[in-house]
Subunit: 409 residues, 2 copies
């Protein structure tokens, strides 16, 4: 263990599946916490979640559980549940930190566990705050985003492919656990925290002004395709059949874009005719269609490489649209210091990301464990069980994972 | 100040604009930190960002800066920059925590500030790790998501409307600052942290398995509209012209969906004919088109209310697609304990969200300050300047904000 890692000494117990809680745990693991994911013997509901490697191993599971330890217990057996309770409330100043998204499992509730370890930090991720189930896809439908996403004129909703609410929820969970741990370090008091996926979506929609806009104007934003609401940004086709996203967020960006495309005089004349000021966000947005129509030929006459050459050195923000396979084959992943090669059990060699937080003491990516691989090690290390006791539990089917070899065996 | 708030005693200085850094600061403010946003006199580039209230005030700005204090300084004046440095390095055990997205401003760099306050925690949000600029819209184009979002058969990219990378980046920033503050509390050492928006997107794409999939399979996911990759979920039209999102993520969800729609026998026969097992994620996904085609009439025959009535009590996950104005008018916002009425200067009364993290000692939403409103208060409180000194600075144009009234004046 790296003694200088920011989260050195913290032990986080994760009893959860799918995206939010595992991403929260991963975030803390990549900053140096010892994160122990505890699953039922045989794995949770997300063990086979797509995408899959050619070997059949879930790349979803291995990607979200990098650098954690894996314990499997038989939750249906009273003694398995007892062991789980012992792990969640095990002593130690950095322990007793639990994140779960389990529904209706009384033995995972804060109240019972806090009777054993009063300074417990317990974060419960829910669908809705009232306990009703929800997932990213249903929460997203309920927010309003899918009906304003996608090309103008399209009927019906457009779902996101990135499970953005799960991602935000997992990161909020990491924030909540660290805030509670700070509080415990200062006061000795534990925390019962709840975090609902639906609240995450409403909070973020509110923090970005979408809810205020709906309340105060009583109208919904139109569906504007790839334009940027209240600014000037859009995708353009290039001569070589690619697309680029181009953003003029400020007056300076727009002035540079007008200059490089040779349209400065045209835009000035157009501003005069329209009584507009394209230096202002609102006017760039109101006249986005005519501005973009004037810009289109410049991009259509140039390859992506030529666009890049001409825009380099200006303030204009732009990027080529890429596919995930482009990232893998064009050298982006190999060149990025964020990623490093790992040997993932069940998968093989691949480039995987560490934490985007670059700070002293953080580690690069480490592979995910095989399911249950650390069961014996955690039970002996955290609970002080003997190897013989662990073997007996395995033989009775109360724990999973590889059975430790008997002495001399 | 609530002495029991989880982040009680922390002072975070934010010199940033737009989404990521302000959302990070907001996240900490809603857990009890004193967050001071410092802008140039007259405001930053995001002061007028859309959406706007009918009054013209930016709902973007006020929503992202709730519960902070606002200071304005003249950064072009050497003494204004000196005051800024004094604030960033002011003494106090919970101070010296800085988050910025400024580019090329040497007086905001870690190296110089840490010479004055060696235990400084300094988080620099960048576009790319090498210093090149980027925004959510260009980063998103570079990831691969826009080319697999939207209806099957559509040409070209579909941008997201939610700036998901900015949101994730802001939450990662909050995590980084809390991790560094823990490290400082234990060791006395400060931290220089960098966080690049492009790295956030690559890291999240990697953590969800998208990068591993591209590397190992060499192929891109197809554009599958509103279907869920590797599972069964899609939107359906209802008899009253609405749409609902329906998700069967597990075997149990699917069994319940088949039962409630009266299709259990049909699906069993279909599984036999196809040699498939719809209890398996992969088979539900492979045969998604035929399964959804069989489900469509059931939804088309029912209103949303009837769908809701019939699905209640089953495990099936579903939601109506709503507009932001629906949330405002159908009682969702008013009924949610997440939101509370605030009186926002420049805007008026509205419902605004607090933190989705429900934990002891957190506060509900508080309004954003008027730009510069706390300049005098912060300079006297944090730096110990006298009211006369503050007045003199204001008269010389070195600070903004309302000028304190002279004694007896």
């Amino acid at each position: 263990m790296n003694v200088t890692a920011p989260l050195d000494g913290l032990t986080v117990l994760e009893i959860a599946s799918f995206v939010a809680a595992p991403l929260g745990g991963l975030t803390l693991a990549q900053l140096g916490a010892d994160v122990i994911r505890i699953d039922p013997v045989g794995g949770g509901a997300d063990l086979g979640r797509w995408p899959l490697a050619p070997s059949g191993t879930s790349l979803f599971w291995t990607s979200l559980n990098k650098g954690k330890r894996s314990v499997t217990l038989n939750f249906r057996h009273a003694q398995g549940r007892r062991l789980l309770g012992d792990l969640l409330t095990a002593s130690g100043p950095g322990g007793g930190i639990v994140v779960t998204n389990a529904v209706g499992q009384e033995w995972l509730a804060y109240s019972g566990l806090a009777r054993i370890r009063p300074d417990l930090i317990h974060l419960h991720i829910q669908g809705h705050r009232d306990g009703r189930a929800a997932v990213d896809y249903t929460v997203n439908a309920a927010t309003g985003f899918p009906l304003i996403t996608g090309p103008k004129g399209l009927e019906g909703p457009v779902n996101h492919v990135l499970p953005a609410w799960d991602v935000a929820c997992g990161l909020y969970a990491a924030v909540g656990l660290l805030a509670a741990e700070r509080h415990r370090a200062r006061t000795g008091a534990g925390s019962a925290i709840t975090l609902a996926l639906a609240d995450v979506a409403l909070a973020v929609a509110g923090h970005l002004g979408f809810l205020a806009e709906a309340q105060l104007t009583g109208t919904d934003r139109p569906r504007i395709g790839n334009h940027l609401y209240g600014g000037l940004a859009r995708d353009f086709a290039t001569a070589d059949g690619e697309r680029v996203m181009v953003v003029a967020l400020t007056r300076r960006h727009f002035v540079d874009l007008a200059a490089v495309t040779g349209l400065a005089d045209t835009f000035t004349e157009l501003e005069r005719l329209l009584g507009a000021d394209f230096g202002e966000d609102g006017d760039r947005y109101r006249y986005r269609e005519v501005i973009c129509a004037l810009l289109e030929p410049w991009f259509a006459d140039r390859t992506v490489a030529e666009v890049g050459r001409d825009l380099t050195g200006t303030s204009v923000l732009w990027s080529r649209y890429r596919r995930f396979t482009d990232l893998a084959t064009d050298g982006t992943l190999a060149a990025s210091p964020l990623l490093r090669e790992i040997i993932q059990p069940g998968v093989g060699s691949l480039l995987a990301p560490g934490s985007p937080l670059v700070m002293y003491g953080t580690t690069g990516p480490r592979p995910a464990p095989a399911l249950g691989a650390d069961t014996a090690g955690v039970l002996t290390g955290l609970l002080g069980l003997s190897a013989a006791e662990v073997r007996a539990l395995a033989e009775r089917g109360i724990i999973g994972g590889p059975v430790p070899v008997p002495p001399g065996g």
